[in-house]
Symmetry: C2
Subunit: 342 residues, 2 copies
DNA sequence: GTTAGCACTCCGCGCACCTGAGTGCTAAGA
DNA sequence: TCTTAGCACTCAGGTGCGCGGAGTGCTAAC
């Protein structure tokens, strides 16, 4: 890649910028005038031809201009791109989006909203994983003689609850004992460290209340281990239809379907959580339906550890510079807000 | 409407059925063979022409077949339609969708999934409003000597919780007394009927624990009265793109945007909650973006009271019979499941 | 009231044509 | 050796034309 001389780089960048704006193949003439005719169109033609040879540009057909390839975008993103910081106005506007919704549970949603509303792309955000909190108590609250609500409480005061049926009425005190047993065994464990082993031991210890306990343990497992709350929020999916490359339902359909699939989106966002900023371009996607799109994503953190991620899904012809800055900015803002409370 | 003789009705129904299937203007010949040539194509032409005169059919252009108007669909839905009950297999499949996800909070989502997956339409579901549920208990769970979690439980097993700081450590038993007092006072009230008065009386009665109680009451007010949780779930919005009338992004875009707008969807579903089943056809929609679609919606109930609604959004060229039965069936199923726990 | 027959309309399609944008190549100039 | 003007070539996309076919509406006979 580094064997690309400065002029070729400049031309590639110019082609990408122009194409990102105009969504149409760009010709040599167009680039020549963009570079203020420091060289002639003919020279640019030669260079573009070379860039095509190298795989960074392509040709829809003989008499058309050039279009960047996924590889071209990749090079651009890795080496040529300069970030476009959001303007101060934009920053305050985005910040306001986040501070308006004070409720914790709505924060991820607010971010999704913010991202979608400043770009013409779709946004995806995962809710923070509660894993780092410590198990505190399991309580039972009877609803009727055969139905109880089980509530888990964490040290941070987060609660989760669910109703269970107990087939045969329990002797008085049974629930209390059960509650004490579970609380005692699990107390103080970070939720993410409550393993199969621990849960199995729990079931063993309380032979006297197998059925209900087993149900509860199943529920705990589901809630805690399976990272059950891998909720994701999608916003602005309809924005995709504004992009010229997705005018046709046959092109847009698969993308929108993929975005509706929680597994796919979770996947996208999980990939991001390792890096500081993570860009996936077109054919690099694991999911075939997304091969026509690019994703820019970043994790956000609590106490320095990544607990969720947010990103943008748009056409490969994306404003990468702007997208990356926006995602970065919102990831940091969100981390800030989440950090304040800890 | 009733001045429409039986044959015209039959022909209108035939046109609609054919058009719903084939998505192309239907000609007189087509109908003649559908009616097993009890009358000739020419006669049908006369009748169709009359139906057009009456506003139930229209003509894209001279040499094209007929297409139902919104008015035509309306007549069909109100008078001519016969419901197509879902098959036993389908019923069990749908039921399974709902019972698989046992958690209360996910139920609305599960319904949305179910609806979208058996139709080629989009589905919308509102989460049950907690307002209509009955207050059951307020419980306290201590976190530390100066911090407790308060949990409200409703008769339906729905829980809400929040942590509070108590400045000076409470004597043992104080929380219990407080909990019993609040539970006793509010028990059995529908959440929405817990008024300022009631809350004020509560504060008065417990002069001995003013501060913490006042905070709790503030929180209750906020949670219960502000009707904050008007969540809606959309599923299968991408299905819209499978419909031939929405192949073009310009047609589909506004619809998808509207479906992404919580206010619009809430509106749709609120309208449904008054009736048993509620069908809105094309131009009948209040929201312009939805004028190309039809919506079939129904409320679901707890203890006979509507607490939410679910529906289908598709093209006006919709399988109304099937859609109505499906929506009805799922509304009843959901009411059943929600009722079981009470 | 129903129907066969028929003229008429108009969409959609294939085809030929043209235009213009943009290329690649060549040969001359720096 | 690199750059550039010139030019032939290619091909997508728009336009105009003609045709076939679907479907209508009307008329006249049953």
């Amino acid at each position: 890649m580094l064997d690309l001389d400065a002029r070729k780089q400049e031309i590639l960048r110019a082609v990408i910028h122009t194409y990102v704006h105009e969504a149409e193949p760009v010709g040599s003439e167009r680039i020549a005038q963009r570079l203020r005719a420091r060289v002639s169109a003919a020279t640019i033609r030669n260079e573009m031809s070379a860039l095509e040879e190298l795989g960074f540009l392509m040709h829809p057909h003989t008499s058309a201009g050039r279009v960047p390839t996924d590889l071209g975008y990749r090079l651009y993103v890795d080496l040529l791109l300069q970030e476009e910081q959001p303007s101060p106005q934009e920053r305050t506007r985005l910040r306001r989006f986040l501070t308006e919704h004070e409720e914790r549970e709505r924060l991820a949603e607010a971010v999704a909203h913010a991202l979608a509303s400043v770009t013409e792309y779709a946004s995806v955000v995962s809710a923070p994983i509660p894993e780092r909190q410590l198990f505190k108590h399991l309580h039972f609250i009877p609803l009727s003689s055969t139905r109880v609500v089980a509530v888990i409480v964490t040290d941070a005061g987060m609660i989760q609850g669910r109703a269970f049926d107990v087939r045969e009425p329990l002797e008085p005190g049974a629930l209390d004992r059960l509650s004490r047993l579970v609380s005692h065994t699990l107390q103080g464990y970070p939720l993410q460290e409550i393993t199969e082993d621990l849960l199995a031991r729990l079931v063993d210890e309380a032979a006297w209340q197998q059925r209900i306990l087993r149900e509860i343990v199943d529920w705990l497992r589901e809630r805690l281990l399976a990272a059950a709350d891998r909720r994701v929020y999608i916003e602005g999916a309809a924005n995709i239809l504004k992009q010229p490359e997705f005018q046709d339902a046959r092109a847009a359909g698969p993308v929108l379907s993929a975005l509706e699939d929680e597994d796919v989106v979770t996947d996208l966002l999980r990939a991001a959580s390792e890096r500081e900023i993570w860009v996936t371009i077109g054919s690099e996607h694991r999911h075939e339906e997304l091969r026509g799109t690019s994703v820019v994503a970043a994790p956000y953190r609590m106490q320095g550890r990544p607990v969720g991620a947010l990103g943008i899904v748009g056409p490969t012809r994306m404003q990468y510079g702007r997208a990356i800055s926006l995602v970065r900015f919102l990831a940091l803002s969100l981390s800030d807000i989440l950090g304040e409370s800890s």
